[in-house]
């Protein structure tokens, strides 16, 4: 029984779902940075390296999602 049919690329839907996680993650990284800087302004230089490392790790997931969406779009 056919309940609903989806035409076009389901990879786009998949990427939309996959981007939720990194979206929240990047938001958390920078939210925490802003909050910690507001609480302790002198620590902004100290925490910035960790912001970039954390941002890179999280953002890599979103970019992998783009890549995999193209790689396996056909199958």
């Amino acid at each position: 029984m056919l309940l609903a049919e989806v035409t076009g690329s389901t990879a786009a839907i998949g990427y939309g779902l996959a981007a939720i996680g990194p979206g929240i993650g990047v938001g958390l990284v920078f939210a925490s940075y802003i909050q910690s800087t507001a609480r302790q302004p002198e620590s902004s230089r100290l925490t910035l390296p960790y912001v970039w490392i954390g941002f890179a790790v999280v953002e890599a997931l979103a970019l992998l999602g783009v890549a995999f969406g193209f790689v396996w779009a056909g199958n």
Binding site: P49, Y50, W52, A60, L64
Partner: protein, 52 residues
């Protein structure tokens, strides 16, 4: 700048993976491995250049 390293890493190693895939015809798996390896390299470079 940070994003640049990630995109470059995924693109370069994904491309190398694509070449391997074309050569041995493995159904796209090497591209995925290449992309993950490239992302790891990009994260490492960012940690080194922007991090501590």
């Amino acid at each position: 700048m940070a994003i640049g390293y990630l995109i470059t890493g995924i693109a370069v190693w994904g491309f190398i993976g694509w070449l391997v895939d074309r050569w041995f015809d493995l159904g796209g798996v090497p591209i995925g491995i290449g992309a993950i390896v490239g992302a790891a390299g990009g994260v490492y470079l960012i940690a080194r250049r922007l991090g501590a």
